[in-house]
Amino acid sequence: MNNDALLLSFQLAACTALLLIVAGMPLAYALARWRFPGHLLAEAIVTLPLVLPPTVIGFYFLVFLGRDSAAGRLAEHLFGTPLVFTFSGLLLASMLYSLPFAVQPMQRAFEAVPAHMRDAADVLGASWWQRFFVIELPLAWPGVFSGLVMAFAHTLGEFGVVLMVGGNIPGQTQTASLLIYDHVQSFDEAAAHGLAAMLLVISFLSILIMLIIQRRMRHDV
């Protein structure tokens, strides 16, 4: 049981982090590079999950994507499975909840790429793609990597959102943090200790590895 919950937490954290990098990078780049109508609004929406209680995100997720909602029915019709109380639902909710942890480091990293680097690439005849993949992305890579690790570590420790959206179903939507809560509720302190210590070590190592790799990347540049 412990292994199932831990494995699910890992799967959820890894999928959330990877999908957020893919989906969040265009958003981070757009926020960093362009000033468009609604820019401030978009930035506020991206930042909102940082201050919003997880239960609020979970509640509105149930309201707008639950089985009785129009969007929920559409999703169920398209994918053949409901969003609430499933891994897909957990993934979507985790992506929303961890959005600022992935997007903000990437946005800051793209903002930090000096304008004259882009100018130099343009004058040398680079296409937009060549400029992005050969110059901007490698220079912003420490920030992208930081977004990946932060989203992973943050999702690993989620509680409120996964409880609301997943329903704490053992073997299906019960993550390690929910299982710790269950152990504490049933006075099984030893099991809670074991799992909590494991999450603590994994989270600490993730951050440490991120810092080591970031430092090496900066020295390389």
């Binding site: 004259h116 100018d119 130099a120 004058v123 005849g125 680079a126 050969v134 390389d220 540049v221």
Partner: protein, 284 residues
């Protein structure tokens, strides 16, 4: 001939420039800070795109209608702007496409005497070496017009002279036109075929360096004989230690010039300077 006529506005600042640059020449854009020199270079490179007017090139095309990446223009930035994560070789090759890429890079690396550092990153190079790589990178796609934004301002005197000599040599080889921004009057005087003055966003005129830079202030010429006491040479530049009456001082000259005129220790040389280069102070 490059026939340039541009008007550009941003906020309160308006730039109006009309220049005629002889193809194959080295032209200097001279003016105080904030006069719009860098903006004019950016307009010519296509990095600002709200200008009206024309840039008629010798090839008959109006470059103003072309996007930046299609203009045959090279731009060398004040702070080299080399890509820090790419090697020297890859920096130079960035603007090249096609089968002759390797040969062109090898030729340029040899020209800037950095073949042995082809695989180094810019962070491990000196300021002078970085500027040489930046020059090679700008020249790699064989531009018709090379724009230089104060390329020598961050270098010491010797490194600046070496880079200027390299620029002259490459220009004689490839025949490209140079438009260079500088604050340094003696640099402009020494290098330029023509000088264009830019003041408060307006090109106020252009012409021979003598006429444009000295004007009415040229009121005389100082000259004196001195004896060369000692010569040191690194093959490219020579440092002459000269004695004039009881004073000794060093001068940096091109080695080829020294050899051509047989200047050795014991030779006598004539030192000249424009009177406008002197300042006068009362002796207390």
């Amino acid at each position: 001939m490059f026939d340039i006529s541009l008007t550009f506005s941003r906020g309160d600042f308006t730039l109006q420039a009309a220049l005629q640059l002889r193809a194959g020449g080295l032209h200097v854009l001279f003016g105080p800070s904030g006069s719009g020199k860098t903006t004019l270079l950016r307009l010519l490179a296509g990095l600002e795109n709200k200008a009206v007017g024309h840039i008629h090139a010798p090839d008959g095309r109006n470059w103003l209608k072309m996007p930046s990446r299609l203009r045959p223009v090279g731009l060398m930035f004040q702070q080299h702007a080399l890509f820090p994560h790419l090697s020297v070789r890859h920096n130079i090759a960035f603007g090249l496409r096609g089968k002759t890429e390797n040969e062109r890079v090898a030729m340029l690396l040899e020209a800037i005497s950095l073949s042995h550092r082809a695989h180094c990153r810019p962070g491990s190079l000196s300021g002078g070496e970085c500027q040489r790589v930046a020059l090679a990178r700008a020249l790699a796609p064989a531009p018709q017009l090379l724009l230089l934004d104060e390329p020598f301002s961050s270098l010491d005197e010797q490194a600046a002279r070496e880079l200027q000599q390299l620029l002259k040599t490459l220009q004689q080889q490839d025949g490209f036109t140079v438009l260079m921004v500088t604050h340094n009057k003696s640099e402009a005087y020494r290098l330029a075929d023509s000088v264009w003055l830019l003041e408060a966003g307006k090109v106020s005129g252009g012409g021979e360096p003598d006429h444009m830079l000295m004007g009415q202030r040229l009121s005389g010429r100082f000259q004196a004989e001195a004896e060369v006491c000692h010569v040191e040479s690194d093959g490219l530049m020579a440092r002459l230690e000269v004695r004039m009456e009881k004073r000794r001082f060093s001068l940096l000259v091109d080695e080829s010039w020294r050899l051509q005129h047989g200047i050795e220790a014991g030779s006598r040389v004539l030192l000249t300077a424009k009177a406008s280069d002197f300042s006068v102070f009362p002796v207390s």
